[in-house]
Symmetry: C2
Subunit: 340 residues, 2 copies
């Protein structure tokens, strides 16, 4: 556990996160657009870091904000609060939320937290958030954000592997092969060019943070997904990303079509290329499972499936005869109904 | 020592270096512009890595190239050589140059090496290069590159610290202060904006690789330098960088005015700001000293000096009365001489 807090003490990490204005402004806007809900309320900021979200809450009119920060950064958070003259509203507490005595702080009307890790759950603080919710949120209280969603989409990785084909005139395809083997062994954090997304995304997990239980986050996904390619290309990986939604209806989304964030996207790289055509179905099972031995880690399992052997949606817009026939039948039925 | 080779096995590092086309093309052009020197010659490539420099040498007409690579990458180097059909010219040898038996390879006419680390000597392979020169280079043989130079210049770091003044409306100057303390404790590798260079650079070290001895590289610099600011600004660090020169006269330079490279520049960050004016002299002592306990590491010592108390060049173009007077005197003398 020491290791975890050590890495967060590195100021460069916080500089990177604060420099991610998509992230910071999404929270700022969601909080400041919702001042009627914050006015005179008790707020807990779980994993306050440098204290920036606590400050937004205070600016939105909160009566008291408890900025809970487990790492040594708590001292710096305290300094930031003082620098912004908010010491009367924001109380910095240097503790893990799990270690906090219930009489140290009041129960809160709102819990704010930026708990998301890479591909939502990798080294994130979701468990701490749920602990805070279960122990320190008043009945009817709200979470900021309140919903998290995980998406996946087949993609190609043109720049990642073509690189080795010609380096200043020298062919290094053999290294490209080793490089790909390495890359297919663990999730790759990278920004995917939107032109390299081959199909509309599938929703892999929808977490209602207000109600989801700890046991429900042990496994995410683990279903059969069928994506229909909207162009021809080379299937080289499954790209995953997340979004979170705030109670005011606004959203922070980290997908390949969104403004870039420090989370980028995560790619599960396939060991070999698969050529795909327009309207071709790509079927896969994707599972994120909490590691038993390593807290805050998830193992990702991706299995490409034979698209002819899995259930497609009805109607499905892929090029398979079965789906075309079903689609036509449904269209005719719908036309008949319209005629009636 | 194991640690060192481990890090070089990481393919991402090699991808980064190969993707640094300033670097790769500087070698390629220097070698291929000099084919008359390479034709039918014996070449040793010290620290061959992926083998790309060995391939350029073979393309330039070398009879035999010994690609010496100590890390596990030697296997991949071998594959690259075969992929490029140069197995008859290039012999990959999986060994440290220091462990190589003198009868395993012939002495060479040319030693090629990309041995430079951050600020030239940090985790570089200069010692191995000199070992190769002393043990495996024929008399009259040449080194590629043959000269290395280290430069330093006063600079400001506007983007590095201003960042904390206003983060989405929140002031974090207190963190900026801690951040700066952290940054002033070890050399910072970063790309300096050319507008942030405050004065012409000073040559800190000039290494004639053909002749320099091992003991001469124990300490670089350690003299008093006076730079004259060519603009007003805030002195926040001393920026250092290097260039290497090839026997054909071409150069690979990694300064703030050059095309960017993966070495970027290195900044010794001052703990506090110093306002400087145009024509103001900035005096400092900069020393790079080999670490006794850690091979391939150098410790950097920077001392800012009182510019009024150190010797200035003659003539010196700074604003100090002494220098103005001297300059005027010399100009008058020169005018007198012209009249004669």
């Amino acid at each position: 556990m020491d290791q975890y807090f050590k890495s967060y003490e590195e100021l460069d990490v916080h500089r990177l996160m604060l420099n991610d204005t998509s992230r910071t402004l999404a929270y700022k806007n969601a909080i400041l657009n919702y001042t009627d809900k914050f006015k005179d309320k008790i707020v807990i900021d779980v994993g306050a870091g440098t204290g920036i979200l606590s400050i937004f809450c205070a600016q939105a009119g909160a009566k008291t904000v408890y900025a809970i920060e487990a790492s040594e950064l708590a001292k710096m958070c305290e300094e930031v609060i003082i620098e912004n003259n908010l010491g009367n509203v924001i109380k910095v507490i240097h503790s893990k939320i799990e270690d906090l005595d219930s009489n140290v702080i009041q129960k809160a009307d709102i819990i704010v937290s930026e708990w998301m890790g890479f591909y939502l759950v990798h080294e994130g603080m979701l468990e701490s958030l749920l602990f805070a919710r279960d122990n320190f949120l008043l009945e009817g209280g709200i979470l900021f954000p309140s919903v998290a969603k995980l998406y996946a989409s087949p993609c190609q990785l043109s720049s990642m592997f073509q690189f080795w084909d010609n380096i200043c005139g020298v062919s290094m395809k053999c290294i490209g092969k080793h490089y790909r083997e390495t890359k297919s062994m663990k999730p790759e954090i990278a920004s995917i060019n939107k032109d390299d997304i081959l199909a509309d995304s599938k929703l892999i997990a929808w977490l209602d943070l207000q109600s989801i239980s700890l046991s429900e986050i042990n496994t995410l996904g683990n279903e059969e997904y069928v994506c229909i390619c909207n162009k021809e290309g080379i299937l080289q990986g499954i790209c995953i990303w997340f979004s979170v939604e705030f109670p005011d209806g606004s959203e922070l989304s980290t997908g390949p079509l969104d403004k870039s964030t420090h989370w980028k996207q995560t790619i599960i790289v396939l060991p070999v290329d698969v050529k795909v055509e327009k309207d071709e179905p790509v079927a896969f099972n994707l599972e994120l499972k909490k590691d038993i031995s390593e807290e805050r880690k998830y193992n990702i399992k991706l299995i490409l499936l034979d698209a002819t052997e899995v259930e497609h949606e009805i109607p499905c817009y892929c090029y398979m005869t079965k789906c075309i026939v079903t689609r036509k039948y449904l269209e005719e039925q719908s036309n008949d109904t319209t005629k009636d």
